[in-house]
Amino acid sequence: MSTAKRRGVGFERVDDVSWRIPRDESWGMRVDGLVFADAALAADLEGDPSLEQVANVATLPGIRGASLAMPDIHWGYGFPIGGVAATDASLGGVVSPGGVGYDINCGVRLLRTDLRLEDAEPRLRDLMDALFARVPAGVGRSGPFAFDDAELTDLLAGGAQYLRRRGLATDDDVAQCEAGGRIEGARPDLVSERARRRGADQCGTVGSGNHFIEVQVVERVEDRRVAAAFGLEEGCLTVLIHSGSRGLGYQVCDDFLRDFQGVPERYGIELPDRQLACAPIASPEGQAYLGAMRAAANFGFANRQLLAVQVRDTFEAVFERPWPRLGLELVYDVAHNIAKEEEHEVDGERATLLVHRKGATRAFPAGHPELPARYADVGQPVFVPGDMGRASWVLVGGPRSLERSFGSTCHGAGRRLSRHAAVRAARGRDLRGELEERGVIALAHSRKGLAEEQPDAYKDVDAVVDVVHRAGLSTRVARLRPLGVIKG
């Protein structure tokens, strides 16, 4: 067993795919930290402040099992990105807005198509140009969908299900979403006026940063049975949408983090980092945050649905066929920044836990009662976007996810370079041209944004996926190769 020490945080190899940060009471840790990584990823983590963040999360009251991190872990604020923490209300467990993040219900959805690459290729550039022209992306862009105050309240309560009532989502669109596209218990009344104003005209917009819409081709199927159940076939086009709850969600998180200052002290909770501010799940403060968070999460589901509507409209225009005839159906929509109440077995007993996933994806295996009927026998689809030059992955909830990670897996490749370092690395280069040489049409509203998100800024998604596959958290179904991407 090799041990590396860093500023008091131990880091020991458990097996080929996991590393432990042993519980250290002097640090205030209540449980171990457990990081899923192979030797190479673990070596990269040496000296990384994200490990301290895993240890800090282990200090939260009521945390069960371990403070977990997925192999795409990187330094966040408070929680590491790639972190999973399950807290138990019956043991004084807390909810931490920082354990969800500012972009509440940031997530991904995958649309599949019947279009084969060889048939679609002549119109690919037109398609990307049309997507870029029609789908709002970029900083602060507002969308074509306007909701008045009463409608926004209904949207915050109903998520994608509200859009179905408005004729903007099909039954399948709703059924193929995590939580049916609507998290119960939302409290739109607890979403502040400024959060509403900040996000009201942004439902149906991509945003900036690492958000995108990517057109891809199924390059390789690794699990034929599951791929067939997901409607994926080698050589067919897919569309991956990555966005969240936009300014509304950011503001909900910010409002509650501010309100939570002083709350831990009120409940006698000592924290190593202010950003971990939290409140007991059962407290009025905790319940208020959860109500507002669920409303913002519903906004996130609705946002990705409205993006899908615009993608379908664009495909119809470019391929001159109604979208159902293109088979442009939703495979699934999954959140990777959220806290959900779920039933899990821990320490040999059933417990209702609040699972915080901050840059981690739910990955329930076959047979789980929360899965839509269509996937009951195969497991939940998981989408892991890689960088725009390499690949993204479709995985399926794995056999060991419930026992090892509260039904969670990775959410992306994980950043390797800071945004600034990425911009520096791009200086003097023609990134768009480089991507075109790799067969990717990249359209971004900001060249700097493109530089920040260039392939070199990220870890190798294949390596990250290899770890979660071998750990049994989620297993490989298909590798998707990017053809074109639009970004903010």
Binding site: Y77, G138, D273, R274, H420, A421, R424, A426, R427, S446
Partner: protein
Amino acid sequence: MSWRHVAHTADVGIEVEARTREELFAEAAEALTALLVAAPDDDGDADADADDGAATEADAAAATAAGGAVGDAGSATAAGGAAGDADAVAPVEVPVRVPPGDDAAMLRDWLAEVLVVFEVDGVVGREFPVAIGPDGLTGAVRGTRFDPARHSRGLEVKAVTYHGLRVEAVPGGWRAAVLLDV
């Protein structure tokens, strides 16, 4: 008085030094605004000369002085006011109040307010008067409406975080560090 932007794997930090606490707060607001509103060419030239991994005030100022063209057509969307009309250059002042608290909490809350004034009211601040007393902070964002003809959107800053937040008195003045989620 000075500020610089510092790199963080997923986010961006601001480090500020000033002679007084009020100047510190104003400087921090200026540094935040320099991220929100890109210099006319938002494509990396603003920090082309920074060799220590940090964009600096001087770089941003130089880039701002370089001209008035918008960097990328389409990237600039008014956060608020209409483009091109007289309102766009009319001075606007939005008052800001922050309840009393420790210096770090007040700095964070102040910057969070400056962010909201930009995101919701569409006001690009140029001056940030600040007074701090027993009732907390009384200040304002003084500037003009966001105008795509003159401004270009920079980073999408989601929030001003508490992570690594620091305000301290040092010999000869004050120093602060703030991390932004972008």
